[in-house]
Each structure stands twice: as structure tokens, then as C-alpha cells.
């Protein structure tokens, strides 16, 4: 129980430094609010160029059908192919529709007039989606103009579960939360130890009758509690500002967050045992958390599309399990029977890191 004394000392120290306290508790929520506003991969308001060589009521109806939804926004009406080409080169149009002369005439004769869709493929993901929408809109409008085709058979009925509007921000927010929490928990813990060493107070702790494990535990406890508060604040922000409510059990969410925060802190302890100055500790801590939590966690870039060696590397990144666990609990409402794998992986990471931290401290390196 002597670690409680260390925890009490640490708490007192934190409370004397309101700036660090604010950074630790409020900053994650503030960053979630700031970055959450731009967090979207939805393809909307795609700049559309229309080259209507027919200019009949049929061709105008076709164009109107394209711009009726929220996917396309009419950006330009070029008068020639050259003008269209330079619109594309300048990036001012992503999709273009070219209606040839004689469109209405052919349509009224019952022929199938051709409509050309051009898409700028440079942004592969949004281009594919845009092309899909454009073809769907044009085919539907064309069928309507031609007098309506019979209902096709077999048809497909689609039901989207968990995120029916396919809002990408719901899928991205857990990743953002993981990244912010991991960076702040790791950095704060690493700095707290290195600061003691820089000021020379670490020796005093080490010559006291405390064991290595007690010092580590006493250090981790208050920071862990604060980080957990930060995690709750982040979740509350995601809920209030972006409508992301926890569909599953709040208890499972807390368990995930606690294990994740503990693992991040243990990583911070290990980093601090390897460095002597606050500056190096900070640099190491950000490099070890930010990049992996951003690119190898499945936050934005799907892990399944990465080369195999990177997938193996990602298996060692705790943020990866936190993100998938969070998505299951928050979006799908999954229970412990589903997320036990993630919980186990996070627990394993935290245990391993704590063991390394205690071992290094035992050798007087902390």
C-alpha cells in the first residue's frame, strides 16, 4: 500500500501545475472537437462540369437529375472540349458529363443515345464513388426519360446495419480518439519521470525503501485516473458535438479505455527509462505513438489493404485493438462476448510494457 503514498505525492505535484493538468485532461477533448469537424471521407458536392451539345429539354432534364442530390455541384459549363480539359487540369472539375448533339432526337426514336462521363481519377477513392453515383443517376434519369423501364428481376434489397447513413465521421471518430488519448497519456507519463530525473528528485525516490513496482504503480495511478477522465471527456465531446453515442455497454467502453490508457502509460514509462532529457523523451514519445496510432491503427487506412509486413507491425500497435474495440462497442453495440479479443490484446500489451518498466527500474535506470 506504500504506492498510495507515491500516488498522493504525484497527485499533489500535478495539482500544483495547472497548465499540465489542463493539457492532460482538457486538451484531448479540445482536439477531438477541433479535428472532428473536418473528419469526413464522405464524397459530397463533387464539382461537376457539363458540356451540353444538345441543349434540349431532355438533355437539360438529364443534367438537372445529376445536380438534384447533394453529391454533385454544378461548377462550370464549358463550351468546348479544350475548355473542359483545362478545367480538369486545374482541378476545378472532378466529374464531367458530355451530352452529344442529337441526344433528344435519338431518345425519342427509341435508340439508346450515349452519354459520356469523364472522371478525374487522381483521388482514387472519391473518384470511384463519384463515378458510381454519376452512372447510377444518369442510368436512372435516362430510363425515366425513355418512358420508364420495367422493374428488373432479380432485384436486390439492401439494408445497412450499425451506420445506415454510411457517415464516415462515425467510423473515423474512434480512430481520432485513440490517437489523441495515446499521445497525451504516453507523453505525460514519460515526461513526469524524466522531469524527476532532470531535477534530481528521482534519486530520492529510489533510495527510499520503496520497491520498483511501487514507484511505477504510484506514478501510473494518478495519471491513469486523469487519462480516464480525459477519455470520458473525449467520448462526451464526440456524443454532444457529433452525435456519437455509445450503443453498447458503457462499462465495456470504460474497460477498453482503462486498459488502453494503462498500456500507453506503461509505454511512456519504458520510454522514460531509455532517455535522459525531457526533450528526447518528448520526441521519442510522439514518434512512438503518433505515427503508429495514425497510420497503423486502421483509423483511416484500412489495414487489410496494407502490405503484409506492415500488417504484422500493426499487430503490435495497441491503438489498433482500441480502435476496433471502440467501433464494435460504440457503433455496433457489441458486448464483451465480441470484444474480449481486443480486451485481451490490450491487457497483454499493458502487462508486457509494465513488466519492462519495472525491470528497467529495478536496474536503476528509470
Amino acid at each position: 500500500m506504500r504506492f498510495l503514498a507515491v500516488a498522493r505525492k504525484e497527485t499533489r505535484q500535478i495539482s500544483r501545475d495547472p497548465r499540465s493538468l489542463a493539457v492532460l485532461v482538457a486538451m484531448p477533448a479540445a482536439l477531438t472537437l477541433l479535428f472532428g469537424t473536418v473528419l469526413s471521407l464522405d464524397v459530397k458536392r463533387i464539382p461537376l462540369a457539363v458540356l451540353d451539345r444538345d441543349s434540349t429539354s431532355a438533355s437539360r432534364a438529364l443534367v438537372a437529375a445529376m445536380t438534384s442530390g447533394e453529391y454533385f455541384a454544378l461548377a462550370a459549363r464549358p463550351s468546348s472540349e479544350e475548355e473542359l480539359g483545362s478545367l480538369f487540369a486545374a482541378g476545378r472539375a472532378t466529374v464531367a458529363v458530355v451530352v452529344a448533339h442529337g441526344f433528344e432526337r435519338e431518345l425519342s426514336r427509341g435508340e439508346r443515345p450515349a452519354v459520356q462521363v469523364l472522371v478525374d481519377g487522381s483521388n482514387a477513392t472519391s473518384a470511384q464513388t463519384a463515378l458510381g453515383y454519376a452512372e447510377q443517376y444518369l442510368a436512372a434519369a435516362g430510363a425515366r426519360l425513355a418512358g420508364g423501364a420495367a422493374a428488373p428481376s432479380p432485384w436486390a434489397r439492401l439494408r445497412v446495419l450499425y451506420n445506415p447513413e454510411l457517415a464516415s465521421d462515425r467510423f473515423l471518430l474512434p480512430g481520432l480518439m485513440a490517437m489523441i488519448l495515446m499521445v497525451s497519456a504516453t507523453v505525460a507519463t514519460a515526461l513526469s519521470i524524466v522531469r524527476e530525473r532532470e531535477t534530481g528528485t528521482m534519486e530520492q525516490l529510489l533510495v527510499s525503501p520503496l520497491s520498483a513496482a511501487e514507484v511505477v504503480l504510484g506514478k501510473a495511478l494518478p495519471y491513469g485516473a486523469l487519462s480516464l477522465v480525459a477519455a470520458l471527456l473525449v467520448m462526451a465531446t464526440a456524443w454532444l458535438a457529433f452525435g456519437l453515442a455509445v450503443k453498447g455497454s458503457l462499462l465495456v467502453f470504460l474497460a477498453l479505455a482503462a486498459l488502453f490508457v494503462l498500456g500507453s502509460q506503461a509505454l511512456g514509462l519504458v520510454i522514460s527509462s531509455a532517455t535522459r532529457s525531457q526533450q528526447v523523451a518528448f520526441q521519442l514519445a510522439t514518434y512512438a505513438t503518433m505515427l503508429p496510432a495514425f497510420i497503423l491503427s486502421g483509423f483511416v487506412f484500412p489495414l487489410r489493404s496494407m502490405p503484409e509486413p506492415l500488417q504484422w507491425l500493426a499487430a503490435l500497435v495497441p491503438a489498433r485493438y482500441f480502435v476496433s474495440g471502440l467501433r464494435s462497442v460504440v457503433l455496433k453495440g457489441a458486448g464483451i462476448d465480441v470484444v474480449w479479443r481486443e480486451l485481451a490484446a490490450l491487457a497483454a500489451f499493458a502487462t508486457a510494457m509494465l513488466a519492462v518498466a519495472v525491470w528497467r527500474l529495478g536496474r536503476g535506470r528509470l
Partner: protein
């Protein structure tokens, strides 16, 4: 009379700075190795290509027609059959566990109905959590069934024939789009962090006062501090550009001269930001924190690197005009992928130059005021 003396002093300062870079074993990795490593890792990892969506098949019909449908699904580029389930509930369970992206349920009587020319259908359940994968799955599913209906129902499905033409990146490789963005970010990190740290370190050590009391003018002092890092930034631009061209095969369809030219206003921006950060921070740690959380992360998130500016809330979109990274990305992607030239790209270049001039000018003014 004063000019040559200023130049000699500048030369001395630049040499001192380079010597300091060489003396600090951490500087070369930060300035040269880190950018290359980041580009390589990001270049491979930052791909948004959606692999095949995993489908669970619930075949309640068990007829040749339903088996043919499942086989056709598995043979298409958008899907891979990830097993079968007996009931729709069991299939939904797989979706919950994240072991499949969608399920296909073929009702009993499907084969018979189809043969009789009746009105039959199938049901897809889609896990919408990962919206990108889900969209691809939905598009694939509707496309497949549409083709099936057109082929088996007879006659064209629509009244018009839609012909597609994909420009610049016909294979839809997302790496083409991501690598120029990564290039811009790597340059941001290097020049911003190096500048901020170099100035603050002298402040922290107290050596800046020593420099300030020498008869060298403030501007010369500043130029001597910034020039070496500008040079490193430009050197990195060339290395990183070569890697993306010859390692990642990202095309450079436009003018290389324009690409190198745009590095100048960009370096002006990052040096200005680095100077700004170092002016308002007292310690290296503060400088790192400020550079990371208040400058780099916002610049990256608001630049359209992964999250398109068009899908941001309309109130936020004008803010992105202040983000030099956004303009740089427009220029890089335009030149490299679309072969755009000055005629098309002058607006972002002008904006970049304007942001650079204001940032740099403001930073220098603030720096001189603080130092005085």
C-alpha cells in the same frame, strides 16, 4: 561598406550553424533520414484501396441458380466469399464480430421463381461501420444484380448508354494521390521542427544573447540561422521527389521546374512558422508541443490530405484557405498527376506565396520586437 562585412558575418553564421548540425548526432537523422523513412512507411501504408468486401452467403434455396449467384459473387473483383451461414441471424452475428462486411441471403424459391420469369429478389445486409468498404460493397452488389437482371430479364435496363472515361489514374491507384500529400507533410515536419528547435535551443542555452550582443545585425543573424535549414528543406524536397518518382512510380506529368519552384514559397511558410513557434516558446519542450499540436496537426487535418475539403462543413471551408499545406498539395497533385502548369495552378501558387509572405514577415517582425 557595410554589405561585405554583413556577408562575411552571414557566412560565418551559416558555417557555425552547419557545424552545430554536424556536432549534434540527432540532427542528421532528423533532417535527412526521418523524411525518407516517413515517406517510405507512409507510401506503403497510406493506401485507401479497398480490398474485396467479405461476404457471408446464406443460401436458403440451394438451387443451381442460387449457387451460380454465389459463385458469380465470389468471382467478381469486389467480393470474396468468407464462408456460409445457415440462418440470417448467424450471418448478422458474423457482421457484429467484424468477420464479414456483408451478407447475402437468397430466399427459398429463388431458382424456381427466376426460371418462371417471376419477380424474385435477394437480400444484402451491409455492415456500415467502415463507410468506405461499405460503399464499395453496396456498389458492387447493386452492379452485379443489375447486370444479372439485364442479362436474364432481357433488353437494356436504361434508356441511355453511359460511357465512362477515367482520366489521369485509370487504375484508381490511391497511392498516386497519397504520395504527393505525404511529400508535402514530410517537408513540413522537417523544416518546421528543425527551425523551431534550432532557435529555441540557443535561447534555452543562453547563447542567443551572446549572438545578439555581437555587432552583427538582427537580420543577418536571422538569415544565418534560417538559410541552412532552408537549404536542408530544398535538399529534402529533391530526395523525396526522386523517391516518389522512381520508387513509388508516381508520375510527374507536369514541369519539374514548377515543382522545384513552388518549394521556395513553401519553405518561406515553414521557416516563418518555425520562427513564430520559437519566438513564442521559451523551452524546446514548449516549442515541440506548440509545433506539433498547434501548427502541424491542424495544418495536416485542414489541408485535404485525407479528408476532402469539399466534405467539410461549409463554415469551416474558408478557413482552409489559410492553410499553406492545402495550397501546396493542390500544386503538387496538379503538377504530378494532371500535368497542370502555371496557367491552371496560379491561384494556389499565389495564395501560397501570400501566406508565406505574411507568415514570414510577421514572424520576422515579432522576432525583432521580442529580441529588442
Amino acid at each position: 561598406m557595410n554589405a561585405p562585412r554583413g556577408l562575411i558575418a552571414l557566412r560565418g553564421l551559416v558555417l557555425k550553424e552547419l557545424r552545430q548540425v554536424r556536432a549534434d548526432p540527432r540532427m542528421i537523422p532528423v533532417l535527412v533520414v526521418a523524411p525518407i523513412l516517413q515517406l517510405l512507411i507512409f507510401g506503403y501504408a497510406a493506401t485507401m484501396d479497398v480490398t474485396r468486401a467479405r461476404v457471408v452467403v446464406v443460401d436458403r434455396d440451394g438451387s443451381p441458380a442460387s449457387r451460380a449467384l454465389a459463385a458469380r459473387l465470389g468471382a467478381s473483383d469486389s467480393f470474396e466469399v468468407a464462408g456460409r451461414a445457415d440462418t440470417a441471424d448467424l450471418a448478422e452475428r458474423r457482421l457484429l464480430e467484424g468477420r464479414a462486411d456483408l451478407s447475402l441471403t437468397v430466399p427459398a424459391g429463388y431458382g424456381r421463381g427466376l426460371a418462371a420469369g417471376g419477380d424474385v429478389g435477394v437480400q444484402f445486409l451491409v455492415d456500415g461501420t467502415e463507410s468506405t468498404t461499405a460503399s464499395v460493397g453496396i456498389a458492387g452488389a447493386t452492379g452485379l444484380l443489375g447486370a444479372l437482371a439485364a442479362g436474364e430479364g432481357g433488353g437494356p435496363a436504361g434508356g441511355v448508354e453511359v460511357r465512362r472515361l477515367v482520366l489521369y489514374n485509370p487504375d484508381f491507384r490511391s497511392r498516386f494521390f497519397m504520395v504527393p500529400g505525404v511529400l508535402a507533410i514530410v517537408l513540413l515536419i522537417v523544416t518546421l521542427v528543425a527551425t523551431a528547435m534550432a532557435v529555441v535551443k540557443e535561447k534555452e542555452l543562453g547563447t542567443f544573447e551572446m549572438l545578439a550582443v555581437t555587432p552583427v545585425s538582427r537580420l543577418t543573424l536571422l538569415a544565418g540561422k534560417l538559410l541552412p535549414f532552408a537549404a536542408f528543406g530544398l535538399l529534402d524536397s529533391v530526395i523525396v521527389l526522386l523517391i516518389s518518382r522512381y520508387w513509388f512510380d508516381v508520375p510527374v506529368r507536369g514541369s519539374v521546374l514548377l515543382l522545384l519552384g513552388v518549394a521556395f514559397p513553401w519553405v518561406l511558410c515553414t521557416l516563418g512558422l518555425g520562427l513564430l513557434v520559437s519566438t513564442i516558446s521559451r523551452t524546446q519542450q514548449q516549442a515541440m508541443m506548440t509545433a506539433l499540436f498547434l501548427v502541424m496537426l491542424p495544418l495536416i487535418y485542414f489541408s485535404g490530405f485525407v479528408f476532402p475539403v469539399e466534405s467539410m462543413p461549409e463554415a469551416v471551408q474558408p478557413l482552409t484557405e489559410l492553410d499553406p499545406l492545402k495550397h501546396l498539395m493542390l500544386v503538387l497533385r496538379g503538377t504530378m498527376l494532371r500535368g497542370a502548369g502555371l496557367r491552371e495552378l496560379w491561384p494556389p501558387i499565389a495564395k501560397l506565396a501570400a501566406v508565406g509572405a505574411v507568415t514570414f514577415g510577421g514572424a520576422v517582425a515579432l522576432f525583432r520586437k521580442r529580441l529588442a
